[in-house]
Symmetry: C2
Subunit: 516 residues, 2 copies
C-alpha cells in the first residue's frame, strides 16, 4: 500500500507522506482535487482523505521519534532546517509553479513567499544551533537561609512532543508544511504532523517531500515528519484527538480555530491550541497626515490592500479618518483602485464568501460605495475579483459591528468620523487585532500618545507610518493579539518567540549527581 | 443595598466586596454556610450567592480600573502588594483563627501558610518595583539591509486586563484571595475579581477586606479588587462569561477546570484559562536509597503525606519501589503512620470522595492494604480521617490506571516492581504531574540519567532526595505540567514566571515621535 513517489512529482490518489513515503489509497472514495483559481479548473492529481490507519501511524511514529529528536543536538536540528531549505531550493521551480497554479497568485507574490519561507528555515536553524530558545534559570542553594534552607533550583525548557500543524489557506509556503509552526517545533525538537490545506495539497506534497527527504538525509527517524491530506474535517479531528499529539499550531478562521480548540479540550487529556484567527488591522490617519502625505499614504494603502489580492491576515480592512481628511483623500485612493486589474480569489468558497460579504455591506443603508470593481457575470463563473472600497459613518460602523467583520479578499471599509475626538474614541472600540497602524503628521504629538495607549489594549503589533502587510521575522516580532487575532494573545505564531509555544519549563530541585 | 462592614468582622448575608464595600443581600434565598471541619458544625455567618447585578458591577468596575492600574507605576503596584501584606499582618489573629475554623488545619499549618502568603506578597512587590517581569526586546532599524530595509522593532509586555481568580480549597491564604494569582496579576497591573471558595468564604472575606482597604489606601480605583461569594456554579460561570474578563486563573479539580475552560471557549470572545488541576506526584525509590537511607526516607514520606492531612496538590500519592526494597521499607513506614492521629478532612464532600476512593481501592483485588486508619462510625459523622497506605503490583497498577488516580487526602499507593527494569519502565507511564521525586543511593549513577530523561516527559518539577510538598517561590519555580497537572503545561501558577500568564506582548514597528 505504501509506495515511494518520485521526489518532485505529485502521485495520484495520495493520502499523505508517512514513514518517509507517499501513501497511496486503494480506495479513492473520499477523493478531492485542487483547483487553479485563475481558470477555476481542477488540477489533474486526485488526493484522498487520510484514513484512520495512516493518521494513527503518523502519530505513533511521531511519538516514537519524540525522544530521539528531543535528544538530537542543536546542531543537528539546525542542519535539518537548513537541509529542508536546500531541498526546497533544489525543487524551487516545481514548488513555485505548483503554488502559483493552486493559488492564482502573481509570480512575484509566490516568489516573495518562497524567499520568506527559506529565509525562515535558515533563521530558525541558527536559533536551534545557538540554543537561543532555551532560557535556563538557576538559583543556587542556600543552606543557611532562615527559616528554611533554600534548595538549588534550575529551570530549563524541554520540547512538548508531537505538534499537529494546520497551515493557512493564503500562505502555502511560509505558513504551511515547512512554515512558521514547523520551524518553531523543529528548533525546539518536537516532531510535526501536518494536515495539508485542501486548497493547495499539491504544494504541500512537494514541500512535504522536501521535508521527508531532509529528515532522512539527517539520519533522523521518519516520524519526525508526516503529512496528511484531507478535505473532510474528520481528518483534522482524528489528528487533534490522537493521544500522542501534545500541542496544536493552527492558522485559519475563528470558527475553524474554535472547533479545533473544542476538540482539543474534549480529549481525555486536553492539549493547548495556539491559533491565529482573524483581524481587521485598523489603520488610523490623522488630518495632518493626509494634508502632508495624502498621496503617498493613498498609494501605500492601495498597495497593501491589493497585496496577494487582499488574502492577507494583516490586510488593512478598516481605515479610520475624519470627514475633512476623507474629502482630500477619497480621489487619491479611488484612482489607483480603479486602475487595478481583478485577480483570482483563492478558492470557490472564499470567492462566494467575499461576494456575500460585499453584497451584504453594499446593501447596508449606512454604507456608501466609494469604489467597487465590476463582478464577472454568473455565466462567466470566474473567480477574479477587483477591489471594493466602502465607507460608513463612525456611529453606524460601531452600531453595525463593522469594525470586527473581516472580509477575506480585496475589500476595505473607511470609517468616517465627525472630528478628532470621535476618531480617537474609535481607537477604543476594537476588541482584538493582529496589528494597528497610525499615520500622523508633524504636529500630531498630543494625540499620538493617547492613540498608542488605546492601541496597546487591542493590537499585537503597532505600526507607525507603515503598512501591516509584510512582516519582519525577528526577536521582537509579535504576530498574535486578543481574540479574534488569536485564541491566546500571549502567543505569537511568527518570530523567534513562536518557539515558546512548543517548549515547556521543567524545574530541577536539589542537586543530581549528574548535574552539569 | 451596599453597606460597609467593619473591617475585621464578617457581616451576615454577604455577597462579596464590590466598590470597596461589603455587599449585603436583601434576599437570602441562595444562602450557604461555612463549616468547621473539626466539629462538622456550621459557622454562624450566612453567605449569599452573588447576584447577576453585582457580578456585572464587579466586572464593570474592573474594566474601568484597567487603564489607571496599568498606568500605575511599578512602585505604586509594589506599594499596593506591601500594603495588602501589612493589612493582613494587622489582622493576623482574625485571619488565622477563621482560617483554622474553616479548614480544621493544625495551627502550625495555618501559620506556615500565612507566612508564605505575606512573603509572596512582599516578593511580588519587589518584582513590580523592579519591573523584572517586563522583558523588553529591541531591534534597531537597518535602512541599508537588502533586499528590504529593516524596520525598528521593539516588543514590551502589557497587562492583559481584568483577571478572574478561582482559588484552591486547600490553600485559603496562599492560593486564594491574596494568593498566587492576585500577586501575579497585580505585579503586572491587571485588576482582579476573585470568586471566593465556598468552603472558606469567611477567610476570603477577611483577606478581601485587607485587599480592598489596601487598594483604597494606595489611592487606586476600587475596581482593582472585587470579591464574589458563591456556592452555585452559576456565579463562576457568570464571572467567566463577563465580557470585561480577559483571563482566568484557576486551581481546583480536573472536572472543574475543564468546565471553566469550556465556558471560556464558548464566549463570544474566548479568553485563556490557566488551570492547575491534579497530580499524583510519583516518588521513585531505588534499592540503594532504601538500603542506605530507608529510615529517614520513611520518616520524610510520612511527614509529606501527613502534611495538611494530605490535602496538598503536591502530596506524594504514588511511591514506586522494587519488591525487595519494599520488604525493608514497609515496617519503617507503617510504624509512624499507625502512630499518627486522624485529622479533619476539609469538607463533607471531600471527606465523602476520600471514603469512596479508599473503599474502591481497598476492594480492588490487586490492591493490598498496608495500613488503613480506622474510620469513625456512620453515627459519629466526624470528618476526621487517618492515613491509608496501599500497595499494588506494577502490572496491576498500570492496567487499573492507578498511576493517575489522585485521591485528595492522606492516601498513597506503593507501586511494587519485580526488578529495576520494571521500576525504570514505570517512569515512562505517567502522563502528567506537577512533580516527581527520586531518592537514590551513592552508586545509582547509571539509572539516574535514564530516570531523569523519563521524568522530563511528564513532570514540571523534578526533585532529588527531597519531598514534593513545600515549595520554593522564586525565579526558577515551575508549578505546572502536562495534563492533568495543568491545562497548558507551559504555564506556572506559582513563582516569578506566573506573571507571564497575565501579560501580553505588544510589538512597536518603526519610530514613534514620542518613543523613549
Amino acid at each position: 500500500m505504501t509506495i515511494s513517489g518520485d521526489s518532485m512529482t505529485i502521485p495520484n490518489d495520495c493520502m499523505g507522506i508517512v514513514d518517509g513515503d507517499a501513501v497511496l489509497a486503494d480506495d479513492a472514495a473520499n477523493g478531492f482535487y485542487a483547483f487553479d483559481p485563475a481558470t477555476t479548473r481542477a488540477l489533474p492529481e486526485r488526493f484522498v482523505d487520510a484514513d484512520r490507519h495512516h493518521i494513527d501511524r503518523a502519530c505513533d511514529l511521531a511519538a516514537q521519534a519524540r525522544r530521539p529528536f528531543a535528544d538530537a543536538s542543536g546542531d543537528l536540528r539546525g542542519r535539518l532546517l537548513r537541509t529542508i531549505a536546500d531541498r526546497m531550493r533544489d525543487a524551487r521551480q516545481s514548488i513555485v509553479d505548483r503554488c502559483q497554479a493552486e493559488t492564482g497568485y502573481l509570480l512575484p507574490r509566490v516568489e516573495g513567499e518562497f524567499a520568506r519561507a527559506v529565509h525562515q528555515l535558515d533563521l530558525f536553524a541558527t536559533l536551534a544551533e545557538t540554543s537561543r530558545w532555551d532560557d535556563v534559570v538557576t538559583v543556587p542553594a542556600d543552606p543557611d537561609r532562615k527559616p528554611l534552607p533554600r534548595p538549588k533550583m534550575r529551570r530549563r525548557l524541554v520540547p512538548v512532543g508531537p505538534v499537529a500543524v494546520f497551515g493557512a489557506c493564503n500562505f502555502p509556503l511560509a505558513i504551511s508544511v515547512a512554515g512558521n509552526d514547523l520551524v518553531a517545533a523543529y528548533a525546539a525538537g518536537s516532531p510535526v504532523v501536518v494536515k495539508s490545506h485542501p486548497s493547495h495539497p499539491g504544494t504541500c506534497h512537494l514541500v512535504g517531500q522536501a521535508v521527508a527527504d531532509a529528515v532522512a538525509a539527517c539520519g533522523l527517524p521518519a516520524g519526525v515528519f508526516s503529512l496528511l491530506h484531507g478535505h473532510s474535517k474528520r481528518v483534522s479531528e482524528d489528528l487533534v484527538r490522537h493521544r500522542s499529539i501534545a500541542a496544536v499550531g493552527f492558522t485559519g478562521s475563528p470558527g475553524g480555530g474554535r472547533a479545533i480548540a473544542a476538540c482539543a479540550l474534549g480529549r481525555e487529556r486536553p492539549i493547548p491550541v495556539y491559533a491565529e484567527l482573524g483581524s481587521t488591522n485598523p489603520v488610523f490617519l490623522t488630518d495632518a497626515a493626509i494634508a502632508q502625505h495624502g498621496e503617498s499614504i493613498a498609494k501605500g494603502f492601495v498597495e497593501s490592500l491589493r497585496f496577494g489580492n487582499g488574502h492577507m491576515c494583516t490586510k488593512p480592512g478598516v481605515v479610520v479618518l475624519t470627514r475633512s481628511a476623507m474629502e482630500i483623500w477619497r480621489d487619491l485612493v479611488v484612482q489607483p483602485l480603479a486602475a487595478s486589474e481583478p485577480l483570482p480569489m483563492l478558492s470557490e468558497s472564499i470567492c462566494r464568501a467575499f461576494d456575500q460579504s460585499r453584497d451584504r455591506l453594499i446593501a447596508n443603508e449606512a454604507v456608501q460605495t466609494l469604489f467597487a470593481a465590476e463582478r464577472p457575470t454568473e455565466a462567466n463563473r470566474s473567480w477574479h475579483r477587483g477591489p471594493v472600497w466602502l465607507s460608513a459613518p463612525a456611529t453606524n460602523a460601531i452600531a453595525g459591528d463593522l469594525l470586527h467583520q473581516e472580509t477575506f479578499g480585496p475589500l476595505s471599509i473607511a470609517v468616517v468620523c465627525d472630528e478628532t475626538d470621535q476618531w480617537l474614541d474609535l481607537s477604543t472600540r476594537f476588541s482584538g487585532s493582529l496589528t494597528t497602524t497610525l499615520h500622523h503628521g508633524e504636529d500630531d504629538g498630543s494625540i499620538i500618545a493617547a492613540w498608542r495607549r488605546n492601541a496597546e489594549d487591542f493590537a499585537g503589533r503597532i505600526i507607525a507610518s507603515g503598512w501591516p502587510t509584510g512582516m519582519e521575522i525577528g526577536p521582537a516580532t509579535q504576530h498574535g493579539g486578543p481574540y479574534p487575532a488569536s485564541l491566546d494573545g500571549r502567543s505569537t505564531s511568527v518570530g523567534f518567540s513562536s518557539i515558546d509555544r512548543f517548549v515547556r519549563p521543567v524545574c530541577y530541585q536539589n542537586e543530581f549527581p549528574d548535574d552539569a
